[in-house]
């Protein structure tokens, strides 16, 4: 498949994201959904502000709401806890008219105090919250972090339902404040109790946490959603890190959805029944091999380009990843608004790779040691597959398998020549471009120590640009330079696949993370097993 045809297929997949949501059936109320959290075997804490784990996020999204919410169909943040917003001329001050119909699970009405309480709590150094990055552009954040203030000066209550937030940059705050990691907690509850007895504004109320096994919720009657939302009476999130166990439980109808790996994807596709219930989405993740662009020989872009030319990524995607990915053209994925549909990726051309190496002064080739974890789609098995391809281009690749914790530590610590990883490439393209800005710390996502004056200029211009189309155009230009500079071998964009039972409706193809669903919009019909179907 050509790159252009692949992009066409991908865009088609993007538009078909919501197939289960468009079921022409009348919504049924009630019943129990057994959802799955597939990324590990436990949920550490129920306080999402103390965690950076997706497992926790999957659980938190049932209980909590943030100021903004993500719309996977438009790819943009939109209002959730406010109904109107006005922005000052300088683009720094936002005045929010907050919802007056939102109530917490403890019956406390939602007010501006709760937003101020929640954001100040995250900013406080004593909480050491990994969510702090998401609110760091609120004025006064640095003072709170530095200990010279206890509250951010950028948060001002005008009345119970009017809140003014002043930011330090005119960037759209929606992408940061829509994160599940910055939920609004009730100001009349001690934040430290959220770890075990969470209270939020979300559609489901916490019932029970069986560590390593399950988190259960019940419908919150006071939820501010439309119509009868949430439709379900009960929601169980089953913690199931083992793909094989999920497979058995799904086939046995004990769980209603399952996230599939590449091997299972192929098996489910081949099954006439299971293939009818597959939800696919091109996620905003780019799988890459990253080079330390300051270390010879990878400080020469011709060497980095040679690696890109030296690998037949389509073959690896077909044979090893079983088609559960789309070949990458550059860093920005096809589902990003900054993606350039006319961009040409690196075609497989070992001769050109050899020529580039010779031109760069390496006629005898180079060594490419890659640190990798054991992930089947972006780990050691992939590096092993590219070794023979690269050897044809005079690139002697080798793999150094390490445990995931070591991989992450070495990448963020800059202790590598090259690494293979899966990196978030959305939803906010400007935030992604920040990872190629030379002033961004290596540990804070400029992993390859990339530095290019033109990319810096474009990033700074995009930061100031308030017109979305023009901003995306600037980012698109920068992405073109990054593609040319090749700090990464651009491998693939992930295709996430969720299997769902025939009685489940309302799932959406969330390209940010397919396993995070709007549970309030999910419903099940009466063909569900007797113990879970609507009564």
């Amino acid at each position: 498949m050509t790159i252009r045809a692949t992009i066409g297929a991908l865009l088609l997949a993007g538009t078909a994201l919501c197939a289960p949501a468009t079921w022409a059936q009348e919504v049924q109320r009630g019943g129990t959904l057994n959802f799955t959290a597939p990324y590990g075997s436990s949920v550490g804490t129920l306080d999402i502000t103390a965690s950076a784990e997706v497992q926790t996020e999957i659980v938190a999204h049932a209980m909590h709401r943030s100021l903004y919410k993500w719309n996977p169909e438009t790819g943009k943040p939109e209002p959730d806890l406010f109904t109107e917003v006005s922005v000052s001329d300088d683009g720094l001050t936002y005045t929010y008219k907050l919802r007056s119909d939102a109530v917490f699970h403890n019956d406390k009405p939602f007010t501006a105090d709760d937003v101020i309480f929640s954001y100040n709590r995250i900013a406080t150094p004593a909480t050491a919250s990994p969510s702090a990055n998401f609110i760091s552009r609120i004025k006064g954040f640095d003072e709170v972090q530095g200990g010279s203030a206890t509250e951010m000066s950028g948060l001002r209550k005008i009345d119970d339902h009017t809140l003014e937030i002043t930011f330090t940059a005119s960037q759209d705050p929606g992408f940061d404040l829509m994160q599940n990691y910055v939920p609004i907690y009730p100001s009349n509850v001690d934040g430290s109790t959220q770890a075990t007895q969470p209270v939020g504004l979300g559609p489901f109320r916490f019932v029970e946490h069986v560590p390593g096994s399950r988190v259960s919720f019940e419908r919150f009657e006071g939820f501010f959603g439309q119509d009868d939302q949430p439709y379900l009476d009960r929601l169980n999130i089953m913690i199931m890190g083992e793909a094989a166990a999920r497979d058995v439980a799904f086939r046995n109808r004990e769980i209603d959805v399952s996230v599939l790996g590449s091997q299972q994807y192929q098996e489910y596709q081949a099954d006439p029944d299971l293939s009818k219930g597959l939800l696919e989405v091109a996620e905003l993740f780019t799988r890459v091999v990253g080079f330390d662009t300051t270390k010879p020989p990878f400080d020469d872009k011709r060497v980095r380009q040679a690696v890109n030319y030296g690998i037949d990524k389509q073959l690896i995607i077909d044979k090893l990843v079983k088609g559960k990915a789309f070949p990458a053209v550059g860093f920005m994925p096809t589902t990003s608004p900054a993606f350039d549909p006319n961009a040409q990726g690196y075609a497989y051309d070992p001769e050109k790779a050899k020529a580039l190496l010779a031109e760069a002064g390496h006629p005898d080739g180079i060594d490419l040691p890659v640190i990798a974890n054991q992930n089947e789609s972006w780990g050691a098995p992939i590096v092993e597959a590219i070794i023979p391809m690269l050897s044809k281009a005079n690139i002697r690749a080798s793999v150094e398998p390490v445990e995931n914790a070591v991989l992450e530590d070495r990448i963020t610590g800059g202790d590598f020549t090259s690494f293979i990883w899966s990196l978030s490439s959305g939803p906010d393209p400007l935030n992604i471009l920040r990872c190629f800005y030379s002033k961004t710390a290596q540990s804070a996502c400029n992993y390859t120590k990339f530095s290019n004056p033109e990319v810096d200029r474009l990033y700074e211009a995009a930061q100031q640009e308030r017109d979305e189309a023009k901003r995306n155009d600037l980012i698109r230009q920068a992405d073109g330079i990054i593609r040319e500079e090749a700090p990464y071998w651009f491998f693939n964009y992930n295709k996430a696949v969720m299997a769902y039972q025939p009685w489940v409706h309302g799932l959406k193809g969330n390209p940010q993370e397919l396993a995070i669903q709007d549970y309030d919009k999910i419903w099940i019909d009466d063909s569900a097993p007797a113990d879970r179907k609507p009564q």
């Binding site: 103390a50 096994s213 083992e242 914790a405 610590g413 899966s422 978030s424």
Partner: protein, 311 residues
Amino acid sequence: MGRYVLRRLLQMIPTLLAVAALIFLIFSVLPGSFAGTMTGGGRRALSPELVAQINAQFGLDKPLPVRFWDYLVRLVQFDLGTSFRTREPVIDLIAARIWPSLQLALAAMTLAVTVGIPLGFLAAMRPGSLLDSVTMIGAVSGLSMPQFWLGLLLMYVFALQLGWLPSFGYGEGRLRNLILPAIALGFAPMALLARTTRAGVLEVMSSDHIRTAMAKGDSPAQMVRWHVVRNAMVLIVTTLGLQIGSLLGQALVIEKLFSWPGLGSLMVDSVAIRDIPVVQGTILVIVLWFLVINVLVDLVYAAIDPRISLR
């Protein structure tokens, strides 16, 4: 005997301290850090300031000897520290997991004892018979079968094909949820007990005092009851003690596979994200369990064999 038990309990203290020191040092030199794992798997990156803040929050910015001293001081006060991940006391996390772990371990051992020991006895009573061959083939298979694979096989047969039992989950501690993980976990100890029992009984059966008993005209039932069981028991109890002792630690694969809320899965998850206080705490509990079982085994020795005295 009271003094013996007290002495053995006191002896546990230096052992536990040595284990604690070893775990601390191993995890201090092991590559990987808690803050480093907070990338959400490539989804986000923390600023260097935030990483420093997180490290300071958990005292990870202090020099190693200071951290080690702080750890020991807490430990002697029975304080296992605070989890980096959940920010709750480690003891609370362990307390929530200990009963499911014990449930699973005890169920697995019940299966191993009630099936493995009688099978071994029966096989030894009729060496070379069909029962003996089948038992020993089963025992070798049980010992060589990976737990993970056996667990999946049980799920496939009893949940998916027959629909008799749930394939995963704790299910409020219901017996039907316990059966499959207990079989998967207990199968290898059952096989080992069957083999050990058979070997022990055969050895006793070939000894002089049994020949004397037979010459005296004891019935086979009397002979087994008075001479074989007690003599074979020392070997069986030794094997049993080792198996029970190591079961808590061995259960991690099964716990992860069946989404069982036990100590093993807590430990594995904590290792993966370098939540060191929890790793240290769970290992200490598992070691303590092993030591307690060892004391109990020694007490049982004395009860079944008067030649062994407890001093």
